[in-house]
């Protein structure tokens, strides 16, 4: 479908509507000039940078991913005419502005340390050993300014310098690993890789484990539910529907683990 099928408006009507992700310019729609890597194009206002680039004919191989602001594929740096200031954003989330000069940074080389999650000690020293460059941070805060997700990057790096893995894990949770922080770092830190390490250490070793889950796993591995699942697979539709209708519903407001149903045959 390289030619891109022109998606027709639905069968019964004549109005032309944009479909999929391809915009159609209605009559009288306003356009604005933008400069893609220095080259001027006229694009409809209200488009995102990503859709504006597609509108003028770019087809992304790199630089597009989820198109919903969560995957970090479309990091973009831009400046506005007559303004020295650099701005940072995701191409799929940032709306074009007149006379913006932009380029994408779809990949940034950053050092990532290899480690064994089973062997590693969940301590700050482990983090320092894997990422000694952590202490090259000069607290300039360029990382935080560049973050398109509003993550307090410098704060989590500082937390790690102080040995607080849990705080770093929580502060960095919204990170989408786009790499813009690393691209702006004077100390050449790979912030987002360090944060990933902190979050895994926290999730595996620091956050308390779910004891009820451990028990459930043992029950499953002991075969406790095998017969039940075989029985229910053999049921005909009528029997299944009856059981389905008769399900007891856990109350909305009771906290997890506090309620038990009357019928405990299948627990």
């Amino acid at each position: 479908m390289a030619e891109g099928r022109p998606m027709q408006a639905q069968q019964t009507q004549e109005m032309k509507v944009a479909t999929g992700d391809r915009p159609i310019l209605p009559e009288g729609a306003r356009t604005v000039p933008i400069y893609i890597m220095g080259k001027r194009y006229e694009v409809p206002e209200t488009l995102t940078i990503m859709k504006a680039m597609e509108y003028v004919g770019y087809k992304f191989v790199r630089g597009a991913g989820c198109r919903g602001g969560i995957c970090g594929a479309c990091s973009t740096v831009y400046r506005k005419a007559g303004d020295y200031k650099l701005h940072f954003g995701l191409a799929c989330q940032t709306v074009v502005e007149p006379n913006m000069y932009l380029t994408q940074i779809p990949f940034y080389p950053a050092n990532r340390a290899v480690y064994d999650i089973e062997e590693i000690e969940p301590t700050a020293d482990s983090v320092y050993e894997l990422y000694p460059e952590l202490f090259r941070c000069v607290a300039c805060n360029n990382c935080t300014k560049a973050c398109p997700m509003g993550v307090e990057v410098l704060d989590y790096i500082s937390a790690l310098k102080q040995g607080d893995i849990a705080r770093a894990a929580q502060l960095s949770f919204d990170c989408i690993q786009c790499g813009l922080c690393a691209s702006r770092c004077m100390g050449e830190l790979p912030q987002y890789h360090i944060a990933q390490l902190a979050r895994r250490l926290y999730g595996k070793y620091i956050q308390p484990r779910a004891e009820h889950l451990k028990k459930r796993v043992e029950e499953i591995l002991s075969g406790k539910y095998d017969a039940m699942l075989e029985e229910v697979q053999r049921m005909n539709r009528e029997e299944l529907e009856k059981l389905y209708e008769e399900r007891e519903r856990e109350p909305d407001l009771t906290p997890p683990g506090a309620w038990m149903p009357k019928d405990i045959r299948y627990l």
């Binding site: 408006a9 639905q10 509507v17 999929g20 992304f60 919903g68 594929a73 484990r209 039940m228 997890p256």
Partner: protein
Amino acid sequence: MGYTPELKELIKRVEATRPARLEMARRGEHYPPLSLEEREEVLRKYHPDYQKEGRRIVRVGPNKGELFQNEVADLLESRSMVRPEKVDLSEADYDTDVLIIGGGGAGTAAALMATDHGAQVIMATKLRHGDANTMMAEGGIQAATQECDSPFYHYLDTMGGGHFTNRPDLVAALAHDAPLSIAWLEELGVMFNKLPDGRLDVRHFGGSCRKRMHSAGDMTGAEIMRVLRDEARNRGDRIRVLEFSPAVELLLDEEGKCAGAVLFNMETRECYIVRSKAVILATGGFGRLHIKGFATTNHYGATMDGVVLAYRAGVGNEYLYSTQYHPTGVAYPEQNVGLLITEKVRGLGAHVLNIDGEQFCFPLEPRDVETAELIREALERGKGIVTPTGRVGLWLDSPMIDLLHGEGTVRKELPAKFIQFQRHGIDISKEPMLVFPTLHYQNGGIKINEHAETSLPGLYAAGEVVGGIHGENRLMGNSLQDIITFGRRAGARAAQYAKSGVRIKRLTLDHVVKFEKELEEAGVENPIVAPILLPDYSTEDVRGRRWMDGVLEAE
């Protein structure tokens, strides 16, 4: 930003009818729901899954004679990117135990399990490792981990949600493994929401009898994906990731076993031969086909590649006629188009309105019915609102929520949506939202058994690319669970098979030659070339100026 003056003018019509509608809502009156007969009719006429128009019988391959959406049928009747006579199969560029095609949640879970079972893995992915719908799943992951719950009830809820059309063996596998998957993810360091004592926090969801939805903030899929990817990167000596290198054809050996794939480097346009003892397809869904022109919640690469590759190798699919649409996707602003607006907005009392500010449907019909009614109003009756980028939408009158439940309710109940629109200059507690149905999930796919095996020896499949687990309707939170459960099963099984002494004989693309001959004999004219790999969003104007393309295509 915010609404344009033209749209603001139209919002006045919504505001004009609002006081009377609020009075109605306060009296507990609502727009009358459809009768069962009316439901059936609106579904039949306007729901993409039910419409006769836009579907056709597929004339070739394992599902020959079955009805599919045109966009899907075109791909099932497509020809290969590869010209078999030009390919030198005598030497492989890569040799491995397990080749995994797709770098999302299912593929990465499979890669980790395959290495646990001693296999060497190559993972070929079209975009970057982790570019997948997994990354975008916000809601959560189901598993019966609590004392009041059990795999039995997970099974029952899932079957009921799928109108009892699901494959029982696959649902049993899902329900059985789900807590094991959660424990595995916890072990890998996924930061699940927990109570202070470590108990997993769980919530209800549509169709659940027990609280079974686990989450990690409001980015559960992203958290799972980045942890799995991080672990795969730690195993770089055993998992080699080839990015921007989608598979464009499977390879068989002369004994008819699956034995590798042809990869296509999208940046250099070279092809590579991978010879592998086992192959796992984990390429995800088809949202980017924009079936019937719908916007989608899916990521950029969701183009049904795996189903196409398997089909030419003789592996059919199940339930692929069934697509999950969500009635209220964003139609404006452009940067949010296609993203979901939760049912909760209507649950809190927001009316759905046409361009004149009039109600035209009961706002809480079942999803498929609601979808059909919105389509009818906008497209058949011409009562939709056209946006500056040429989209059509209908109003979702969110300001009613604060007026009905008190100031601040929108902010409290819908924090993420509030921020998402506020970022673009729209205060949804004061201004309505523009919505239109959006394509969300591929319910069907490659036919597998409970071990994630396909009918082709050596070929496995997992994730959104497979069918049967969800029947004709998927429950929230079962997709993230399905990629982990079946990804793990596929990885373990494929590694065991690869290590069991299987020997790959001479490689062949004869199945492609045979399939293309079948196309010709069936009279399929001008079959498209697939997998399409990426959607094309260039405008007609731009395409019209690509004069060179016409010359090249004519050769």
